[in-house]
Amino acid sequence: MKLFKIRGGVHPDDRKARSADRPIENLPMPSLLHIPLQQHIGAPAEPLVTRGQLVRKGQLLARSQGMISAPVHAPTSGRIVGIGRYPAHHASGLLVRTITLKPDGYDEWDDDCKGEADPFILAAEEIASRVAQAGIVGMGGATFPSAVKLNLRERYDLETLVINGAECEPYLTCDDRLMRERPHDVRDGVLLMARALGVSRILFAIENNKPQAQQAMREAAKDFSELQVVGLPARYPMGSEKHLVQALIGKETPARGLTAEIGVVVHNVATAAAVNDALRHGRPLISRVVTVTGGSVTQPRNLHVPIGTPLDDLIAYCGGFVDEPAKLISGGPMMGQPLPSLRVPVIKGSNGVLALSALEVRHAPEMPCIRCASCVDVCPCGLLPLSMSANIRAGSLEASVDLGLLDCIGCGSCAYVCPSHIPLVQHFNYAKGELAARQRAQHKQGETKRLIEARSARMEAIKKAKRDAMAKRKREMAAKKAAEAAAKVDGTQAAEAEA
């Protein structure tokens, strides 16, 4: 298939060979699972269980609340030992609401977890609704509730489903393994999603550095003419949703918009496998494949892990560290998040745990910008990272917004090539966060002002009412007095008259 050109991009050393040939292994059940109530974009789930309660595998632990949210299920059978706060799978390490489950070792499924022998008889709405019930979210790392995306057919004219098997982040191999080992499950999940979306064209995009995965998917898809496996040149950030779509169909998604506006919905490979499991077997999203790798990991592996497993257990299973890692990362090295410690659980969006050595991170002291424009050349969004960063440093965040800060996808290509080692993404993230905070503050200020004005208006009204009442009373008193006086006068007059 003819591909279209996308702008910029870089070719980082992919270092996938370390784990790409390790088959997916099941991690032994850990002694405790910490299941956060928020593992997705949107509102956190609302717990339905209480401390001490016995639950079975796949049982609903917390229901979704709101339009954009996802439920959470028990990864195994056991006892709920607490609903409290636990460090989040996030750079901040903040404490978040978490259900702690002590596995009983039986791993017994809940009776409600029943699948369809032939899920392809289900209607589109039913597929989307079961995906929502299974708590499936985008497993490429974005963790956006998948059912919301499957329901886009209601609002947009959709033509194409794109499956993102690019896995363009270096190091990660979990999607690669999934495509190699479970191509039929992935394919069925893809076909089910296409059915839910009502599209008849599916482009399954896999980077050319994964020939076995391409082969396996082509083999699995050969009887399905609507499903086409497309090889992509290996280039970062080929897996960026909007750029992937551009490479495949040649159209850019309008700024700040959704790919659905140009008739395309993108889903991830692991999400497809999860959809298949949910519909065919009735299994909610309670486990996932995680790549554990990096120069400091003794034995890089691809592990099938229950959600909630502490990262410590994953590293221990991989033989611990060879040496003290320079960085611990959740996700890939380009867009992943730094982790403050391993005392955090695996969540639905965790595709990798990396322990990188200093040699791999290649950290160097920052130097002044020499305006080499490497960042401009590699930016896939056509931005001027050097000018945005200079403006942010000078404190003029608005100027950086004018230059397109909010169109930045944070891919990190600019910082990757910067010869001066300027932490450009750090600057952009700071500015985005600061702008959001200012917007909130401004909103709050506006609200406060509105409330104050409303209050003073109310007080004024009350005062006025009081004044009016007083005036009215005064008038009445005066009238009464006058009447009395008049009566008196009348009386005297009458008396006089009588007299």
Binding site: P254, K327, G382, L384, P419, S420
Partner: protein, 361 residues
């Protein structure tokens, strides 16, 4: 974890640094420099060394005055490169103090007054070169025919010292105008280009570097090779050199076709003077050139046009230094108006609207 700061990613980095960029440029300059030093012998070697050492010294002095750390900035190679580029444009047998004053002007006035590396508006080497040319017109225009090392009549080590440091008058005996200034003089005397060309270095000499000219400017071929290496290594992009040389060649070509007697051929323009050095090593200076592709094309074309205009219509025989400085002044303006198109937006910055487009189609 050995690195505890929780900075945003990426947690991988290309093998690149400011020092590496500067070193690659220096490597690309080496062949042409070697030929220049060989052609002009010991005095050139001394002048070159004095200029580079002065540049590094000036950098150290400026860093000390600005209270900036010495090590990272001295080791990044930028001062060496500035001194190197300046030396390449000097008359090879110029006295030592030309190199010293030039280096001080380049590093202190051209660079650190603006705030150091990355902050300067103008190319430091060209600031120095133009300042020297205006202040010391005699010393800056005394060129000579090549006197290759070890050849008969070439000054030896000690004679070279006398020429560079002792104010020896030996240069008067061998001085020879550069082809560009020769043609300018002859034209002013009413002698046509064709005839004038016969008394000066041939195109072939200009191409390989056995002609009269600046210390490292003469070998067009090796400068071209070095420039192509930099493009291949992605230190510079092809846009500025291509636009600059292309514009120069096209303008020269048009004028040459119309009146070959008064205007030199495009080939002559490309291989003479500092055209090649300027196109690949000076106009492409990262700090002082625009960042976008369209900006680079415009910048290069402007340099090429100005070089032709100055060479042809102004009183100076060579115009690369002036042309680059004038275009440097336009860089902020070019960067402001010629930005890349943002993904998902049209050139005006509005989000793409497919409904309108399909309506048109």
């Amino acid at each position: 974890m050995t690195e505890t700061a929780l900075l945003s990613g990426p947690y991988a980095h290309e093998k690149t640094s400011v020092g590496r960029t500067m070193r690659l440029v220096i490597i690309a300059l080496l062949p042409a420099t070697a030929v220049g030093l060989f052609q002009f012998g010991w005095p050139a070697i001394y002048l070159f060394a004095v200029t580079v050492v002065s540049a590094v010294f000036a950098e150290a002095l400026a860093l000390w005055l600005m209270k900036k750390p010495q090590k990272p900035f001295l080791l990044d190679g930028s001062a060496v490169l500035t001194g190197w580029l300046l030396a390449m444009t000097l008359p090879p047998w110029a006295p030592w103090w030309i190199g010293v004053v030039g280096a001080l002007l380049a590093i202190i006035v051209g660079k650190h007054v603006f705030g150091g590396i990355g902050q300067n508006l103008f190319n430091p080497a060209m600031v120095a070169r133009v300042a020297l040319l205006i202040s010391f017109p005699l010393e800056m225009t005394q060129f000579l025919a090549p006197q290759p090392l070890l050849s008969a009549g070439a000054p030896g080590m000690l004679e070279g010292l006398a020429i560079t440091f002792g104010g020896s008058a030996q240069i008067d005996a061998v001085s020879s105008a550069t082809p560009l200034s020769h043609i300018k003089t002859e034209l002013s005397r009413g002698i046509g280009v064709d005839q004038a060309l016969q008394d000066t270095d041939s195109l072939w000499q200009l191409t390989v570097g056995t002609a009269s000219g600046g210390l490292g400017e003469t070998s067009a071929l090796l400068l071209l090779a070095g420039g192509l290496l930099l493009i291949y290594l992605r230190v510079i992009s092809w846009h500025i050199p291509a636009a600059m040389l292309g514009t120069l060649a096209v303008l020269a070509g048009v004028f040459h076709l119309v009146d070959p007697d008064s205007y030199s051929s495009p080939w002559f323009h490309l291989v003479s003077g500092a055209a090649m050095l300027g196109a690949f090593f000076i106009a492409t200076d990262l700090v002082t050139s625009p960042v976008s592709v369209r900006g680079k094309l415009l910048f290069g074309a402007g340099c090429g046009a100005l070089v032709f205009i100055i060479r042809t219509f102004a009183s100076y025989p060579e115009g690369v230094g002036f042309a680059v400085l004038l275009m440097n002044a336009c860089t902020p303006l070019i960067d402001h108006y010629l930005k890349p198109r943002i993904y998902g937006r049209d050139r005006k910055g509005e989000p793409l609207d497919y409904t309108k487009e399909s309506g048109d189609a």
